[in-house]
């Protein structure tokens, strides 16, 4: 994707980066950092010890100003596979706007950011980062 495909991005006085959702989907995000939650609970189930492994991840664009998004994730296991899934709502510096450049609001923005995160292929990168960072 060339820089011509990325729409111009500006930052407002309130700190929000404003753009339309379609434009956001065109902005490549790169992995910034990921980590484990230190206070993750441990609980027992049917005599087995289960550790709920949760963490956070941060992604950023290479644009100026930058788009920043972070979200929480949890590690789960099913049918012999371990997989990483998003937990809760993303956090960002984004306020999405409609075709009239009007804010669509925090709640609608958050809903669409969930869609954007779930379209992103982030799980492998996060697992690799966690394995590297916490390798013994």
């Amino acid at each position: 994707m060339s820089s011509l495909d990325i729409p111009p991005i500006t930052i407002s006085q309130d700190g929000y980066v404003r753009l339309m959702f379609d434009a956001l989907l065109k902005v490549p995000l790169i992995h910034l950092l990921s980590g484990l939650d230190e206070d993750a609970p441990t609980f027992f189930s049917d005599g087995a010890i289960q550790a709920a492994i949760t963490g956070y991840t941060e992604w950023v664009s290479t644009t100026t100003p930058a788009i920043s998004m972070g979200w929480d994730w949890q590690l789960s296991a099913s049918q012999g596979r371990t997989y990483c899934s998003r937990m809760g709502e993303p956090r960002s510096n984004i306020m999405l706007v409609n075709t009239y450049q009007q804010d669509i609001g925090v709640m609608k923005t958050t809903t669409l950011l969930i869609t954007a995160v779930d379209k992103l292929d982030w799980q492998d990168q996060v697992m690799e980062s966690i394995n590297t960072r916490y390798a013994r």
């Binding site: 700190g15 930058a66 920043s68 956090r91 510096n93």
Partner: protein
């Protein structure tokens, strides 16, 4: 728990020293921040002065169990002077309706806690944060800006605050930190914190 708000000029003798010692225990000893300290066991920087505002939580024994620092952005403040790179290219605000919240901690050393991050889940956190917001709002603030560890944004959302990051987090001295806006709700109760 009792909340004390004000400046060192108005504090009882010895009170500010207790706050500086508490901050050293939290930020230097517990969290491992590399801060310059003016005296052994006291955490104090160039933004601490006789007119700096502090919001302090004391437990029943009178020990400090939490603290926060407030600075109007019309004077030098931490984010502008030390961490402007966290603002994503934006000019640091210098306006009477934006205050900076910094050195926020809610660790009660008289009670057991599981980790440094456990400080962010207590009743003291909620009281201290609400008191800081109310104090600033009573003096014209419409927004707060804060330099914080990543977990703070999640906490603020969980507590129902309209908070959003000012830009991407950055690793500084080994810790990921970011600048966060806290929008003050117009209906905030400021009636009990003047003085």
């Amino acid at each position: 728990m009792q909340i004390v708000s004000g400046t060192p000029r108005n504090f009882p003798v010895g009170f500010y020293s207790k706050v500086a010692q508490y901050r050293h225990k939290v930020f230097v000893e517990l969290l491992g921040w590399k801060l310059k300290t003016r005296e052994e066991g006291f955490e104090q920087d160039q933004f601490d002065g006789p007119d700096t505002v502090y919001i302090v939580s004391q437990d029943e024994s009178g020990s400090v169990a939490g603290c926060a620092r407030l600075l109007p952005t019309t004077q030098p403040y931490l984010l502008k002077e030390v961490f402007p790179q966290l603002l994503n290219g934006m000019v640091p605000p210098e306006t009477s309706d934006v205050w900076e919240l910094s050195r926020f901690a809610a660790v009660n050393f008289n009670e057991p806690h599981t980790s440094a991050l456990g400080q962010f889940s207590s009743k003291v956190t909620i009281q201290l944060l609400n008191a800081a917001i109310a104090y600033a709002a009573a003096r014209g603030a419409k927004r707060l800006i804060t330099v914080s560890p990543l977990g703070v944004e999640r906490l603020l959302h969980r507590l129902g605050h309209h908070a959003h990051r000012a830009g991407p987090p950055m690793i500084i001295d080994g810790h990921p930190i970011f600048a966060c806006w806290i929008e003050i709700k117009p209906e905030i109760d400021t009636g009990t914190v003047l003085g």
